[in-house]
């Protein structure tokens, strides 16, 4: 725990380190694996994108 004044904050350095390691691992994937991830992400995000477009269209009316 790190403390600033009376408030105590958790030490997140290990979380940040794990995230950095995961980024390195992801960067080392093959191009095909990366594109598969991007395509899955696009499919998962499609409903959100549609909702955003509908929202924007309603606002523009």
């Amino acid at each position: 725990m790190k403390s600033r004044g009376k408030t105590a904050y958790p030490d997140v350095s290990d979380i940040l380190q794990r995230k950095a390691e995961a980024r390195k691992k992801n960067a080392a994937l093959s191009f095909g694996e990366k594109i598969a991830i991007v395509e899955a992400l696009r499919a998962r995000l499609a409903p959100l994108k549609r909702a955003r477009e509908e929202h924007d269209a309603k606002k523009a009316r």
Binding site: K24, A27, F31, V38
Partner: protein, 188 residues
């Protein structure tokens, strides 16, 4: 619907002379070298020199016509939807683009559906184009390459020098407190 099928269509277009030499640029080219993230479209840097424009005026009409005949008629934002990917054709617009396209990496990539031959921008040109474009997301991309050692400094600095982008790199490094690798190389 996968990127492999999209690239197959691009390769057919090049073979048929509808477009000249092409290479993948933008986020998808960057994914070859660094961590992938979400992107919506596929940017294609393309030469129209070999595609036989008689007037010298640039027109996407032959591309649109060819794709319409194959059944690709839907536009999404600025891109033509080819096998699920909105494809944006970006013509070579300056000497940096011309060099990037001429020296693009020839690769065979394994994608869902099989292997496919294509071209991708080299890392030094991805960084140079990002510095030239200069939007916040482009600056983030340039930093991603620098921080992850995804670009060879020996290759990057001459490209930036040739295309007058060394100051853009210095400004970016100064703004985020990063050592300027081209300055370090010069002082070494």
């Amino acid at each position: 619907m996968s990127l492999k099928q999209t690239i197959d269509v691009l390769n057919r277009m090049e073979k048929a002379g509808v477009i000249g030499r092409y290479c993948i640029s933008g986020a998808v080219a960057a994914f070859y070298h660094v961590e992938a993230s979400a992107t919506e479209d596929l940017d294609i840097l393309v030469s129209f020199e070999d595609a036989g424009s008689k007037t010298g005026l640039l027109s996407l009409a032959p591309i649109v016509k060819y794709l319409n005949e194959l059944g690709y008629a839907q536009f999404q934002k600025e891109g033509i939807l080819i096998e699920g990917w909105p494809v944006q054709f970006l013509p070579v617009a300056d000497p940096l683009d011309a060099e990037a396209l001429a020296t693009a990496l020839e690769v065979s990539v394994s994608l869902e559906g099989g292997d496919v031959q294509t071209r991708l921008l080299r890392p030094e040109h991805i960084v140079a184009v990002a510095l030239r474009t200069g939007r916040p997301k482009d600056r983030v991309r340039a930093l991603q390459f620098l921080e992850n050692d995804a670009v060879e400094i020996d290759a990057l600095c001459p490209v930036l020098g040739r295309h007058r982008l060394l100051q853009a790199l210095a400004d970016l490094c100064g703004a985020v407190g990063l050592s300027n690798p081209c300055m370090l190389e010069r002082n070494a």
